[in-house]
Every structure is written in C-alpha cells, then in structure tokens.
Amino acid sequence: MAELRSALAAAYAIGPIGVKREPPAVVLREHAPQHLIQLSGWPDSFGSICERITSHLGVRVPVDCLTASAHEDVTVFRVGPTRLWFVCDAACGGRLRDFFDSFDVRDGVVTEIDHSRTVIRVCGPEAQTLLNRGLPIDLEDGVFPEHVFVQSVVHHVPVLVHRLPSRADPAFDLYVPREYAVTFWEWLIEAAAPLGGRVDRGEA
C-alpha cells in the first residue's frame, strides 16, 4: 500500500504548546475523515435528491448553509444552495459511493474532494478564544451552538468551521485546504502558545 501522507506530516509535533497549563486550554489534533464527497445538484431537482438522501442514508439534508446534520457516521454540510458535503468514516464510505453511483448526471454530479482538505480538531475550554484570534465569527455558545458551521477565513485561509456536538468542552473541526494546512497549522500553534495547549496524536 502506498503511504497516504498527511499535509501536516513534517509540521506535526505532539506535545505541549506555549504556556504551561494543566489541563491545557486547547487541545489540537489532526482528524482525518476517510471520505469527503461533494454532491452538486440542480435547482429544479434538488428537493427530490434530498428526499432520496434522507430515505437512503437516514440523514436529513440541512435546510440552510449554517447548520450541519448528522446521522450515525455521516455528517452533511450544505455548502451552497444545491451543494452538499458528505463526511464519513471508511465503513460508511462504501455505502455512500454505492449510493452516489446510482446518480445520473441529470440528478447531480459527484466530486471526490477527500484529499483536498486537512481537518484539524480544536477543543478545550479556550477553543473559542483561540479561534477568535483569527476567525471573525461569534462562537459564543448561544450564537454558535452544536453543529453550526461557517465558511470563513482565518489568516487569509479559507476555512470551514464546524462545532461538534456533545462535548464537555467546546470542540470544533476546521476544514482547511490541504495546500494551506501547514501555514494554518503554524498560525494555530503560534496563536495557542499564550493560552497554553497541547497537540495530541492525530486521529485516523
């Protein structure tokens, strides 16, 4: 098997960041979903596509471009009016691909983008503080609750920020274009240093 190499491979250093603080204010790790698939539909048939998705995958297609929906291992982001991202692990990936293979170009088109993003998970009591060092979005609990996501810019890098559900401390997944991953990671580590954090082993 050829090595699947993380964009952060050379920059990733497990251990403490900056100021000593226990427990750490923020914990960073690379979180690599196995599949990231884009489905783009057409305005006149997108509704029926959504119904098919719900009946087949059991996941509701979000009605807006701000809230993700999830079912079992599949998370769906509506990143455009008729454009969806499906994120899932390896086990679910095959089922997804089989499903999308049944699509005709008149229903929509599928684009493989699973190598295009590096996913960084940021959690900890100061996760919002850290992200707001660069993210111009109000992440306060009441404004940015679980499963809300935004597509914004941090340090001039386009980033999709998704707040994860059911965590003791705030947790966010950041989807960063792969070629920007190192520069973004360096920025993140630098910004985390005054708060005190830790880099954990990446999750496959």
């Binding site: 964009a7 295009s116 707001n132 190192v182």
Partner: protein, 1031 residues
C-alpha cells in the same frame, strides 16, 4: 539618584510598598507602583521633559491623560524602542528607560532651540514660502535639514522582538470608558443579561473618580466595581483603547497587554489588536479640560487644573508648592482646594466678575486668594514657570491691559472649560455641535446604534453622569432584547451635590499685556501652532476650518486636536466675525491615539506575512535541498542545486536533462477545476475561444479564454474525462481568476446551463515527466495505460494506477519535449513522486524546478504569466487563429474593438542579443533605433536624428548620453539563459511583430541606464516544428 521631593507623605493610589527604579535621559529615579512616568518625574521634581515640535521650546507635563501634547518620550531601546509615547500614559515599571525627544545635544541645552528666536521665519505654512529660493531646487537642500530639525522621536530599524496578536470579539453592548457613566452603563446592561464589553484606556476602571478624594465618590466607585465583578456577562478590558469606529458597528481596540512590564512574559504578546463587533455602543469617553491661550502658555509648570488635581489626589504628588489656578469656570475650584489641602499655597485667577458669595466663602475658608475679573496675561520664566502677570479682564470686551500684579508661582493650573471626547462619533460622520450655554462641542445627531453618556454627553456632575450612563444602558438593553431586570437602580451611595455656583464664561485667548513684548501664544502645543499662526492663515485666505487645519497642521497627526480644537475654532470665529457654529469643526480621524504598526500587523510578519501554499511534495523538495521561491502564494522548488552549483549551473543541468533524458517537476500549483454537467461541453465552448463541443472523451485540448473585455485571461488544457465530465487546468497565476469568472458566468450570465464547477487544485498532486525518455519512465511506474503513440497520443488522456495509487495521465507538454502530466490524489503525491525518482534513477532522471521550467518554456515560445498579464490579446500572443469563426465566445465581441484590433499593437516575438553583448532584462522597453538621439543640447533637450519622429513626453537617457523619446514600441516580457542554445534569449512584444523578424531594435532599461541592441526572432527557439513533442 535623587529623592522624590514632590511626593506627598500620604494619600494617593500608589503602592508605597513597591518602589520602582527607572531612568530618564540616563539619570536614575525612583517612583512607586501605580505611578505613571509623568507622575514619577513630577514626584522627583523633574519639570522639563521635552522640546517642542518646531521651535524646540522647553516643555513640561501638561496633562495627566491621553491628551498630553508635550511630554512625548521615547521608551526602551533597540528593538523595543518606541517613540512619541505620552509620559502620562506610561505605567511605571522597574527598569523603565525613557528618553526625551527632539533635542541635541541634551534636553537642557538644545542647540536647535535657536529656531525659537525666529518664529516669523517658521510661521504657518513656512515650507510653502520661506525656503523656496534662490533656485527651484533649493527646497530640496533645505528639506533635509528642516526635516531633521523638526518632529518628534525617531523610529528604530532594529527588529521588534515582541509578538503582537489580533483578535475578534463580539458583544451586545460596547461601553467605551469606565468612568462613572461607563461603569453605570455596564452595570445596568450587565444586570439585564447583555453581553457587555467595557473598555478603559487606563490601568484601572474609575475614570475621573480615580483623581477624587471625597468619600462619596470613592465609595461609589468601590461599590460599582464590586457589582461589576459579580456580573458574568460583563467583560472589563483595562489598558485598552478604543481607537477607531468603523462601518457595521465595528470598533478597533488596542490592548496594551504587556506595555506595563519591561519584557512580556513568555509567549505573551506585547499588544493585542481587537476588532469588536457590537450591536450597540455607549460612548462614555468623558471630557478633556481645555487650556486658555495666553503669552508663553507653554512654559514647563503650566498644566491643566484637572491634571494638577489628579497628580495630587491619585499619585500623591504635589506638582507645585506655589500654585496659581487660572479659570473661567467652577471646576477648577475643587482642584484649587485639593492642591491647598495637599499643602500648596494657592491663588485663583478667574476671568468672571461678581463670583457668588458661596464660592468666595469656600476659597476664603480654604485660605485661597481669589482674583476675580482677572486673567493671566503672560507666564514668565526660562525653562520653568517662575511667575505670572495678572491683568484685569473683561470677557465681553477683551483688550490688552497693563499688568496689575505679578504672582510668583511654580505651577499654573489652567482650566478653560471642558470639551467632550467625541472622536469616535466624529469618525462615524457625526459632526459635533456647539452648545453656547456650556461652551462646549456636544454630540450632534447620533448614528444608529450609538449613545453618549456622562461627560461625553456634557454631564458635569457625578450624579448626572451615573444617571445618563444607566439611562443609555437601559435603552440599549431594550433595543437588544435585554431582560426586564435592567430596571435597576444605581449602585448604592450618597452622591455629592456638585451643582455649579456660576456659569462658565467662554474665553479662548487673553491679549498680551500692554507694555511688554508679546510672547508666543500656543493653541496646539504639540504642533507649535499659535494664535498668530491662525491669524496669519486667515489673512492669507484660509477661512475654512478644514483649510486652516491643513495649512497650519493644527489638530493633525496623533494629537487630533484633543486640547486645541475648540480654542482654534473660537479664535477663527473671532477673526472672521462668525459664530463657532458657523465656523464648523474638522473631522477627527482614527486612530484616537497612536497604534503601533506591529499591532496592526499582528502575527502577519515574516513568512506569515501572507499564507503559504505548499504542494503535496513540498517536504521532499526541502529534504532534497531545493532552493525555494514564491510564485503567488505558492512556495515552489526554484532549482535543486548540487554541491557547489550556482543557480545558473543547476538550471542548465536540469534543463539539459529534460532535453536529453528525462526530468520530473512538481506542477501541483497549476489550477485544477472539475467541470461537470449535461451542459459542460456547451459551457466550455462559450468560455474558450476555440471549440470544445466536439472534443472526444479521452482527449485534451489547449484552450484560451478571454475576459469579457476581450483581453486574454488565461490558457491551459481541458480534458474530457467522460461524456459530461471535464478536467480543466489553468496557470498557477490565474487559477483564482479563472475559477471566479466561471462561477460568475454560471450564476449570473448563464444560470440556465446545468454545469457545476469545483476547484480541485487541493485534491490533486501534479507532476510533469518530460524528456525523450519520459515514456520509458512512465512505463515503469504506471500500469493500465497503453503508452504507445496510438494508445496515448499527444493530447491524450488516460487513467491507470501506479501501484495502488489511481493516476490520471495527460500527454501534454510545456517544455516542448515528449511529456506527460501525471495527477494523483494529493495524499499520495509524495509516494508517487518517490516512485518516479526510484525507478528513473538509471534513466538519468533529474528533478527540476521553476527556473528550468521557465527556461524550457521560453525556449519553446510558450506564453505564461509574464505574457498573460492582463493587457494582451489573442493577436498579441500570435494566437488569433485559434479563435473560432463559427461560434460565439466570451469576450469575442469586445475583442474586436478598434484599440484591440489595431495592427500596430505589439505582438509576441523572440529576442536575442544582436552582437552577444549587453544584458537582456525583463521589463526592458523596446525602441526603434532610428528614433535614437545621440546627445542633448545645452538646455537638456535632445538632438534628434533626422529620421526621428516628433518627440513624445517620456525620455530615456543611457549612461553614454544617448537615449530615446516616447514610450517605445514594445517590451521584453521573459528572459532566460538558454542551455540548449548557449545564449540569452527572451520573449517580448513589439509593434509589427513577425514583420520585424531579423531586424535589430534597442532594449532600454532606464532603471540601470542600459541600452542594448537586440535582434527580433521568431518566438520558437527550440524545435519550431514540434517534432520532439511527438518523437
């Protein structure tokens, strides 16, 4: 080290248990924690702290706050060197180093103070008239010395070792200023559950209350702070300045995180630049006391009355032992009383006649002498005030008068009234209006979302400030949907009765006393602008306040007229016979106080000045010693030097390998766009100038697309993967522009087309395998593809595997050799690259960078970013024949405009040195050699050769004196050393294009004064027939 001779034995908010050592102009002093640099200097008896901007006059500490116009100092040293910091806002810390500014050789003996003896020479606008002769270039000589003599502190060129941060914050309500009104507002809003950010420039909240010693005020502050601490939704940010108000209720804040310590703690920033977005804002920014303008009012020892009160009460410093208080309003009387209580001998000079009995009685009981209906006509002294001349004064008919008496003093505390601090409002376009009753500028019509409270709203008493703060907060809470609990009351405490005994009498200037030579009367102390400068400007026609400001520099730069604005308006109104309302006001601009560029830059410095894009093989390039270069945001391998190799040598070796054996280069930065949908073919047919509807599956086509205005946007190849699926590549430079244009067209121009475009630049690693042996290497790596010319012909596309890595192979060439572009999912890019390296070693595989890539494409005559630079047309590039004549395409109509269809437009050609001598440079201007002149006449005009056309405006002169007129007939776009041809070659554009092939022209490079003879050639230097592509 000297003692703190002016330190009071008791009182103040300083921590006497924590002595602090600091240095000023190389001399060591001590102060206490809680001091500012200004208060500590005063405590040590230091009154001379700086020299003025223009005249180098001695200056002392004038205020106790951010409005300080005089005591600007330079802090720290080397990389932390920071000029122009008000000493009044520098928190004292152990080891602080401060220096005075704008003096030489020393503060006490400043050689440039001689300038002050010639004030008329340096009057308003002097640089427009005084130093203009005797020749036209004279100013260029004077300027050097004038700029050196004038000004403030010098910046450093040493790198700043500290870190700076940026941050975003959000709230329902932003309260600016934590004085009584701000505190009351934050408490009221916090009670109703609003998310509140309370910003205070000072190190602790309290505002003017910090300078008071009466129990009701201090008790109220204590209880307010206690309640504030209990409110979970209120965030108090001290040491933070709200310096700017911008669109959309966005505010710029500067948090001085570690300015109050010598070195920031590990990992902590020195300053943090906040961008706050608020639903509502309450400006509780207080008021700034106003000076009164009189002769020599800038002597050290002249100070605002509130500042003297603050030094006595807050910092336990007696700023003068013999004090004269000069006022036109009641507020200065409490300062007089506090200074008296602190042990000073105090006299009050008040311009108002018939002062109320209550006030007279208060002064009498305090042992303070009172001089009503009088004014200070002049301050006397050399480097410090020694006395003041008192003149009788009638505010209704101010006129020069003889000195009635002279009062000895070492401090003159002045109060000319108060000016609400409305800079943030003014930044939002809210013009203040003049309130004649209070003699102050107050807020005009407020912008949506803003409220003003406390002193900023013209409230003078503590009770009124608290009341207005709470009222503003309740209104904000209602607007933001706050809880009803907002209907609370002010924090407990009996508030003092501070009603004024007598109204203010507006006074701007005091005429100089009769019988004495008039001294300079300063309005803007920071810029050395006097009342006479305003009068001069007015006489010269600068009657508009905006013109006056720019001509005199009054209220400009970091001062922003904090102490000078209203006095200047009053003086101009008097000169012009208008009211202040008719004169109007200037516009305050951000920042309210200076913001270090380091804070604005934040972490975006060095390599992080811009984000960097790295290819999936970047780590390999680094590990193998690649020299890297940036192309746009991409960091790409420039060349791979072997030991001892120069760039040129490495490039020659890499290029030769591609021409002789096989080379491998990283092309991941190429833009890659996935185009899918039933109408994809039609879409591509519209965006490319050439046809795409009949492109077969499994084939690629070179295409050029135009902007709507007919200029070439980009070129690249697009492959048909399946019936409705295309894979487009673009140049690295134009990837973003192409993607934006495609999305715009689909969303706005052709929404009926069922096409989806997705940038997949991040998804795919790309590498080019080029050279005569490229097919051999590909065959060792890739399976599942017939690599024969029949199986994969030139411009063929196929999918296969390299091991278990899925790959997409395009047979295209940028180098002119047989070549393939191989794409793999980015995560496998490194593995695939390594596979090529491992299996190509015995073939002589050489990895090459963008330098060789550029040389190869110039040899082949391929255009790239330097030619597709936003001004060239299809015809300019020699590609006019590509344009379809049977189908419309984007930009096709406007490409036929007269200017773009002009046959004289410069067209793509090749260039080489005519006689092998000289230097080819990109950017050089190509000139007709028959238009060259050989020399100049004595007056500088060129002597033209007989054949030359009439001269145009621009002139180029070579080092030998010869030169060219006009703008040339073309330019050089790309240059390289050709290893294949063993000479310098170039691409460029020249009027006449191919018709000039074989002719010689001049390449002028004015920057270096070079004029080089070049020969025009065809742009294809290597393999013009394209045999190698197919070989």
């Amino acid at each position: 080290m000297t003692g703190q001779v002016r330190r009071l034995a008791a009182g103040g908010r300083i921590d006497r248990s924590r002595p602090v050592s600091f240095r000023f102009d190389g001399r060591t002093y001590t102060g206490h924690a809680g001091d500012t640099l200004a208060s500590a200097l005063l405590a040590n008896g230091v009154t001379l702290v700086g020299r003025s901007f223009k005249y180098h006059r001695p200056r002392g500490i004038y205020s106790a706050g951010v409005e300080e116009p005089n005591a600007l100092v330079t802090l720290r040293g080397e990389g932390r060197h920071e000029p122009n910091v008000p000493a009044t806002r520098v928190e004292l810390f152990d080891g602080l180093e401060a220096q005075s500014q704008n003096r030489w050789p020393s503060l006490r003996h400043d050689a440039m103070s001689v300038v002050g003896r010639f004030p008329k020479l340096f009057a308003a606008g002097f640089y427009y008239k005084t130093f203009m002769g005797p020749t036209r270039r004279a100013w260029m000589v004077y300027e050097h010395f004038i700029r050196k003599a004038a000004g403030m502190g010098d910046p450093t060129s040493a790198p700043d070792p500290d870190r700076y941060e940026k941050a975003h914050a959000f709230c329902n309500l932003l309260v600016v200023g934590a004085g009584p009104a701000g505190l009351a507002a934050a408490i009221a809003a916090g009670r109703s559950g609003l998310r509140v950010i309370l910003v205070e420039d000072d190190a602790e909240p309290g505002g003017s209350l910090l300078a008071r010693r009466d129990r009701p005020a201090t008790d109220w502050l204590q209880s307010a702070l206690a309640e504030l601490a209990s409110l979970p939704t209120v965030r108090v940010m001290t040491r933070t300045s709200a310096f700017g108000a911008y669109d959309g209720m966005t505010f710029g804040l500067l948090e001085r995180v570690a300015d109050h310590v010598a070195v920031p703690p590990p990992f902590q920033p020195r300053q943090r630049y906040w961008r706050v977005r608020a639903e509502r804002a309450i400006l509780a920014t207080g008021m700034i006391e106003r000076p009164i303008v009189f002769a020599d009012n800038d002597l050290p020892g002249v100070m605002l009355a509130s500042a003297a009160q603050s030094y006595a009460n807050r910092f336990a410093v007696l700023p003068g032992r013999r004090v004269v208080v000069f006022t036109n309003n009641d507020s200065a009387y409490s300062a007089a009383e506090d200074l008296r209580a602190a042990g000073a001998e105090v006299s009050v000079v008040d311009v108002r006649p018939g002062l109320p009995e209550a006030l007279r009685l208060r002064m009498s009981r305090a042992g303070i002498a009172l001089h009503p209906a009088s004014a200070v006509g002049r301050a006397n002294g050399t480097r410090a005030i020694a006395s003041v001349d008192i003149v009788p004064f009638d505010a209704a008919r101010p006129a020069p008068a003889r000195v009635r008496t002279r009062l000895r003093c070492d401090l003159l505390a002045v109060s000319g009234g108060w000016t609400p601090t409305l800079h943030l409002l003014a930044q939002r376009g809210c013009k203040p209006v003049y309130d004649a009753d209070q003699a102050m500028l107050v807020a005009g019509a407020l912008p949506e979302g803003f409220a003003v409270a406390g002193g900023a709203a013209g409230r003078a008493t503590l009770a009124a400030c608290i009341e207005s703060g709470m009222a503003a907060a309740l209104a904000a809470a209602e607007a933001c949907g706050g809880a009803p609990a907002a209907q609370g009351r002010a924090p407990a405490g009996r508030l003092p009765d501070e009603r004024a005994d007598a109204a203010i009498t507006p006074v701007w200037t005091i005429p100089a006393p009769l019988g004495r030579r008039g001294g300079k009367m300063f309005v803007d102390l920071q810029h050395d602008v006097g009342a006479d400068d305003i009068a001069l400007a007015y006489r010269e026609g600068y009657a508009s306040v905006e013109h006056l400001k720019r001509y005199t520099t009054l209220g400009m730069a970091n001062d922003q007229g904090k102490t000078s604005n209203l006095n200047a308006l009053g003086i101009l109104a008097g000169l012009s016979g208008r009211t202040i309302a008719e004169v109007g006001t200037t516009t305050f601009r951000p920042p309210f106080r200076p913001v270090a560029v380091g804070a604005l830059a934040g972490p975006e410095t060095g390599l992080h000045f811009r984000p960097i894009r790295r290819s999936p093989m970047h780590d390999w390039h680094q590990e193998h010693g690649a020299e890297l270069t940036t192309t746009g945001l991409w960091l790409r391998p420039w060349y791979f030097p072997q030991p001892g190799e120069s760039r040129r040598d490495a490039c020659a070796r890499e290029t030769a390998a591609v021409r002789r054996t096989v080379g491998l280069t990283d092309v991941s930065s190429l833009g890659k766009i996935d185009v899918q949908g039933p109408d994809a073919a039609e879409f591509l047919n519209r965006v490319y100038v050439n046809g795409f509807s009949k492109l077969p599956v499994g084939r690629a086509r070179y295409g050029v697309m135009l902007r709507p205005d007919g200029i070439v946007l980009d070129d690249g190849t697009t492959s048909r993967i399946s019936e409705h699926h295309y894979f487009m590549t673009t140049t690295t430079a134009n990837a973003g522009k192409v993607m934006a244009q495609l999305e715009f067209l689909l969303q706005a121009a052709w929404p009926d087309l069922r096409v989806q475009v997705t940038s997949v630049t991040s998804q795919w690693a790309g590498m080019a395998v080029s050279g005569p042996m490229s097919r051999d290497l590909l065959g060792r790596v890739v399976t599942g593809i017939d690599l024969s010319d029949g199986g994969l012909p030139f411009m063929g596309v196929a999918h296969g595997h390299a091991g278990d890595i899925p790959v997409r192979v395009l047979r295209v060439s940028f180098s002119g050799e047989r070549a393939y572009e191989v794409y793999a999912p980015a995560g496998y890019g490194m593995a695939l690259w390594q596979m090529f390296c491992d299996r190509g070693a015995d073939l002589g595989l050489t990895v090459y960078g963008v330098e060789a890539l550029g040389a190869l494409r110039i040899e082949k005559g391929h255009v790239a970013g330097s030619e597709l630079e936003g001004r060239t047309t299809l015809a300019d590039l020699g590609l006019a024949r590509m344009a379809s004549g049977v189908k419309p395409f984007l930009g096709g109509a406007l490409a036929k405009r007269q200017g773009l269809a002009d046959p004289e437009r410069p067209q793509l050609v090749g260039l080489e040195l005519a006689d092998g001598a000289g230097t080819l440079r990109a950017g050089a201007i190509l000139c007709d050699p028959t238009a060259r002149y050989r020399k100049r006449f004595a007056d500088g005009s060129p002597v033209l050769s007989e054949q030359a056309p009439a001269p145009a405006a621009a002139v180029f002169t070579a080092a030998n004196g010869s030169g060219h007129m006009g703008h040339g007939i073309g330019f050089v776009s790309s240059v390289t050393w050709s290893p294949e041809l063993q000479r310098n070659i170039a691409l460029g554009f020249i009027s006449g294009g191919a018709s000039r092939i074989g002719s010689e022209v001049d390449a002028a490079f004015p920057l270096y004064g070079e004029l080089t003879k070049v020969r025009v050639t065809a742009p294809h230097f290597v393999d013009p027939e394209g045999e190698r592509l197919h070989g």
